[in-house]
Amino acid sequence: MAADYVVETRSLTKVYRDFWGRKKKTALNALDLTIHKGEIFGLLGPNGSGKTTTIKLLLGLLFPTAGDAFVFGEPAAKVEKNERIGYLPEESYLYRFLNAEETLDFYGRLFDIPAEVRRDRAAKLIEMVGLGADKKRILREYSKGMRQRIGLAQALINDPELVILDEPTSGLDPLGTRWMKDLILDLRRQGKTVLMCSHRLDDVQDVCDRIAILYNGDLQTLGKVSNLLEDANRLELRARDVKETPELRADLEAVFRKYGGRLEAVGHPTTTLEDLFLRIVEESKARPGRRYLPPAETAASGR
């Protein structure tokens, strides 16, 4: 247990059993994993691959069938470690009859923080997650995204050193997704360690330093994102203010052939849908009242 490991698992295995002890499912199989201080670690995998199971084992909500899980160098079953952990559950498992303020107050009281700091932090977090206007409404009335936001605020109430996020972007609109990603990067900047799991690959790609891919409880890949994704055999160029013509293509082919390579494709880059969505939302904010009119209708109304 070296001190710079925030999380360490040693052949961590979880078998779900039914009441009679019969085996139902091996959700996690001999997982060996270490997460270093200050990194953003992504746990990837298709549905049912054991991501949530891993997280629950780390939090002590489940007990390992075999192997060990350590957080901050201590066994996961210890309660004291929770002082330094923030956890955003897969779905916000919060009490629906509390409002945002009461929620943060309740969870805050479970930590050993002075009352003033707690109140102060709660107010700041509510502003940060953008629920300032809704803080007196009970959670039952919240939309999924709003619950995800208060869930995040709840996870940060103790200013944790390790933040565990289970599907942080689920239920969030693209704007919220971007905000969440920025926030995760911000957490790293503050020196915190983040463990997130997701099956939205673009999210992971954008923020994670290292990832592990699980499939059916088995660890398939583990490594730095940049290393895993880099394609050393290909080269990408990008140019501005030129038209794609057969001549250009022929010239480029000649150049690449000269260097022993081969031209694969020439074309216009498309922006991502995310970028488009973000641009439109930004514009709508800048010009309230703007409405989209389909081209056909414009023509019709013009007549």
Binding site: L62, Y93, F106
Partner: protein
């Protein structure tokens, strides 16, 4: 007609007081210790069966300390000792004599047993408890009020959000529809009934709501997975249990307080029959005595008049009857020495059984004789007709016996125009004379009191008598000090039998306000509330909401049947236990025939003994709900002494602690997320 208080009390005996605490602790250690020992052995076997190379987390989850092992070993050694004594048939407590056939068996009060076997059993239990409680106590010191309070408040808010509190308006129903349910009630019973119905409604409301809240809270939390978020904070699992318990108990305490206050206001405002109010709307503090029946023959024990279910014994009425019912009081209450008005009321309720058809609406003529140990009485000689005599016939210097001196003193007062035989506290001069005589001679007699059937009545006794009783130490008779005050009751009406039981007559030390007593009743209900909420929360750490609800209901319901369980546990029903009854049924034998001695019959009896043993274990798990019920005290107008409530509280703690330890282990061993 409501049965009278005395009868109800006889059923259960005196409530447990401080004198029983040592016995209660011993019994608790024996019983809880037995369960603890089984738990400890199972725990250790499980923990040791985990291979040591398994995982560190597993060993952390099921820790085994040297302490636990040592305690288990000590407990087992002691249990072996108990077993040895049992086999040798030594060191046990003496068995109480079996009750005469047909008589209701009264459970002996819980007292300390100093014999080696029960003491060793207790010590064994103590070791087992110390062993199993170690991890629990270790975690208990980590419990923080801040977190428990936050969790308790959560339970509060949850219940408030469900708008459950409207249910408590049902507590007003008895008052709204009073004319409906009180239609057939005798005027004297009006107050009893009002109190009875109010307490019933309140009990049902408080317990039902508390039970539902407690049984479903944790299971819902686990089902909605909201508990995940809580348990990923630095919260001990036991704090969740404690928080739920305190939250719901706190909430229901508020509800109970509100309902009690409202009921009190409404009861006080209710229009009650005057006689009923005088009889029951107060809290008497009685001083109770011991009842014996005496006659010329030494072995007179009172007569049975052949009524079924009659706890009372009877004395025959006749001017010459030597039969007396005698209440003996070992203690003179301090309040009796100088009471306001210089008298102490004595209250009584007698049953009159008419042998011949006498005049209707006429009572029986009864003589009350109050004496102290300074004026002992002796049964009459055959030639003395029925009159009991002053036992002390020593003439003084002037040659006069005490009785003669007393007569002379009475005569002296007569000549001054005061008749002590007729004086009442309303006549200060006469009463001063009565007090003077009583203080000097330790004797006071009410020669002619008309007593009515089944009515609470009273006579006033001069305080001087008690001042006399404080003089000198009573002589020692048969190793025990003689009682300081005795009351001799005689019935003079021929053809009438006067029936009485021990609680039927008492000195009235003082009278407290009804309202205070009602609040004490609520304290008893509060204990029951804690039992219900505690058991339900403990069950719900492992069972689903519905199952927790049912389990708690069954446990509570069994708790209301302690009498029945007692009979089964002591294997003393007529015709033997269930197996013997069945075999008698099969062989068409009468249940009262003596048990046969064949081998088969012995096997059947062994089964019955085993069954009784099982019932006794069930009894250990079941709360003695009735011991928290003070309804009869309140509705009959008797003070619930603070002592009883303290013992209630001790019993409550003793009952709940094992449940909490169980809940601790259950929730700790549970994977909440699977």
């Amino acid at each position: 007609m409501t049965p009278l208080f005395g009868i109800l009390q006889l059923d259960r005996g005196e409530p447990l007081g401080f004198a029983n605490v040592s016995g209660l602790v011993q019994a608790w250690l024996q019983d809880a210790g037995g369960f603890a020992a089984v738990g400890l052995v199972v725990y250790l076997l499980y923990a040791l069966s985990v291979p040591t190379d398994k995982s560190q987390s597993e060993r952390l989850r099921v820790p085994v300390s040297t302490w636990m092992l040592a305690m288990a070993a000590l407990a087992l050694v002691c249990y072996a000792g108990v077993l040895a004594l049992l086999v040798l048939g030594k060191g046990g407590s003496p068995e109480p004599p079996p009750p005469p056939p047909g008589a209701a068996a009264v459970t002996p009060p819980t007292v300390w047993h100093p014999e080696p076997r029960p003491v060793l059993l207790m010590v064994a239990g103590l070791f087992a408890v110390l062993g199993i409680a170690e991890p629990f106590v270790r975690d208990l010191v980590l419990v923080r009020g801040r977190r428990v309070w936050a969790l308790a408040k959560l339970g509060f808010k949850e219940a408030a959000a469900s708008r459950l509190y409207w249910v408590f308006l049902l507590a007003l129903l008895p008052f709204l529809f009073r004319n409906v349910w009180s239609a057939g009630v005798r005027p004297v019973d009006e107050f009893r009934n009002l109190v009875g119905v109010t307490t019933l409604v309140e009990t049902v409301l408080v317990l039902a709501v508390g039970l539902i809240l407690a049984a479903f809270s944790l299971p819902t939390d686990i089902k909605n997975q909201t508990i995940h978020t809580v348990l990923t904070k630095p919260v001990l699992r036991f704090e969740v249990v404690l928080g739920r318990f305190l939250g719901y108990v706190g909430l229901m305490t508020l509800a109970l307080a509100a309902m009690t206050a409202a009921s009190l206001v409404l009861i006080n405002a209710a229009n009650i029959n005057e006689k009923a109010e005088a009889e029951t709307a107060k809290a008497r503090v009685p001083v109770r005595g011991k009842l014996d029946f005496k006659s010329r023959k030494a072995d007179f024990e009172g007569t049975n008049v052949g009524r079924e279910f009659d706890y009372r014994k009877y004395i025959a009425g006749h001017p010459d009857s030597p039969q007396r019912a005698v209440w003996s009081f070992a203690r003179v209450p301090a309040a009796a020495l100088n009471p306001p008005g210089d008298f102490i009321p004595v209250e009584f309720t007698f049953d009159i059984f008419k042998m011949t058809k006498g005049e209707e609406n006429r009572g029986a003529k009864v003589v009350f004789r109050f004496v102290t140990h300074n004026c002992p009485q002796a049964p009459p000689e055959p030639n003395q007709r029925g009159n009991w005599q002053w036992a002390d016939r020593q003439p003084d210097a002037a040659g006069k016996t005490p009785e003669q001196r007393y007569q002379a003193a009475v005569e002296e007062y007569r000549q001054q125009g005061v008749n002590p035989a007729l004086a009442t506290p309303a006549d200060p001069k006469g009463w001063a004379a009565v007090n003077d005589l009583a203080e000097r001679f330790g004797f006071y007699e009410i020669p002619d009191k008309e007593v009515f059937d089944y009515a609470v009545m009273g006579v006033d006794v001069p305080a001087g008598l008690f001042r006399n009783a404080r003089k000198n130490d009573p002589p020692v008779v048969d190793g025990k000090p003689a009682p300081r005050v005795q009351v001799y009751v005689k019935c003079e009406s021929p053809g009438q039998m006067l029936g009485m039981a021990e609680p039927d007559l008492y000195l009235l030390e003082s009278t407290l306000p009804f309202s205070l007593n009602f609040v004490k009743w609520a304290a008893g209900l509060w204990c029951k509330l804690c039992v219900v909420v505690g058991v339900a929360v403990a069950c719900s750490t492992y069972l689903s909401g519905v199952l927790s609800l049912l389990t708690t209901l069954i446990v509570y319901w069994l708790g209301t049947m302690t009498e029945f369980l007692n009979d089964l546990a002591l294997n003393r029903s007529v015709g033997g236990g269930p197996f013997e009854s069945m075999s008698r049924l099969v062989r068409a034998e009468s249940p009262t025939a003596p048990p046969s001695e064949t081998g088969g019959a012995q096997v059947v009896q062994a089964f019955d003994r085993f069954f009784a043993w099982v019932v006794r274990r069930i009894q250990n798990v079941v709360p003695d709900v009735e011991s928290f019920t003070w309804t009869n005290f309140v509705s009959e107008g008797f003070n619930v002494s603070g002592e009883y409530l303290v013992v209630n509280l001790l019993t409550l703690v003793g009952y709940l602690v094992p449940w909490f330890v169980l809940a601790y282990y259950l929730l700790k061993s549970r994977e909440v997320a699977s």
